[in-house]
Symmetry: none
DNA sequence: TCACATTTGTACGTATGTATC
DNA sequence: AGATACATACGTACAAATGTG
């Protein structure tokens, strides 16, 4: 769950969590990340917010998007 | 309503009102405070002034801000 | 090939606060 | 005080790709 009392934007909070899991190897390269809907349910955020989280990881070079399939941990 | 004849700055006047409501429990911990726009309409002040009011409460440790969501009464 | 439902991500409109002039 | 641009959120509705039969 995200902390709406925090001054850190929810989409950044969730991104930080996923980033941590990627770095710890809980999500390995090539593996699929949670979908937008998964994040909505897991963290209680809006679809738009969840999508923004995943796009942020793409921007950071940590993930790649495959249309219709979802987001994957980027290799290398 | 604020008193523009007063030597107390409008943003402090409104902050005092909100502070009173928080202390009396009219706004409970975790509850959302009026938005900037709410304050603009309720007290006839400018957006900038209303925002300053809410940020003052944050500075005082009475409230917390969440991007895109608003201000909340701080717990504890 | 062809629907069709499901799953996936996207766009839009509205609301929230911030920063700057 | 007012105007504008920005960042962020929510909910709804939409569009694209998948996979199944």
């Amino acid at each position: 769950m995200v902390d709406y009392q925090s001054s850190v934007a929810p989409y950044r909070q969730v991104a930080a969590i996923l980033r941590g899991k990627i770095e710890r190897g809980e999500y390995e390269p090539g593996q699929r990340l949670p979908s937008v809907n998964d994040l909505v349910q897991e963290y209680g955020i809006a679809r738009t917010t969840a999508a923004k989280t995943l796009r942020l990881l793409v921007t950071e070079g940590l993930a790649e998007m495959s249309p219709g399939m979802g987001f994957y941990v980027k290799a290398g």
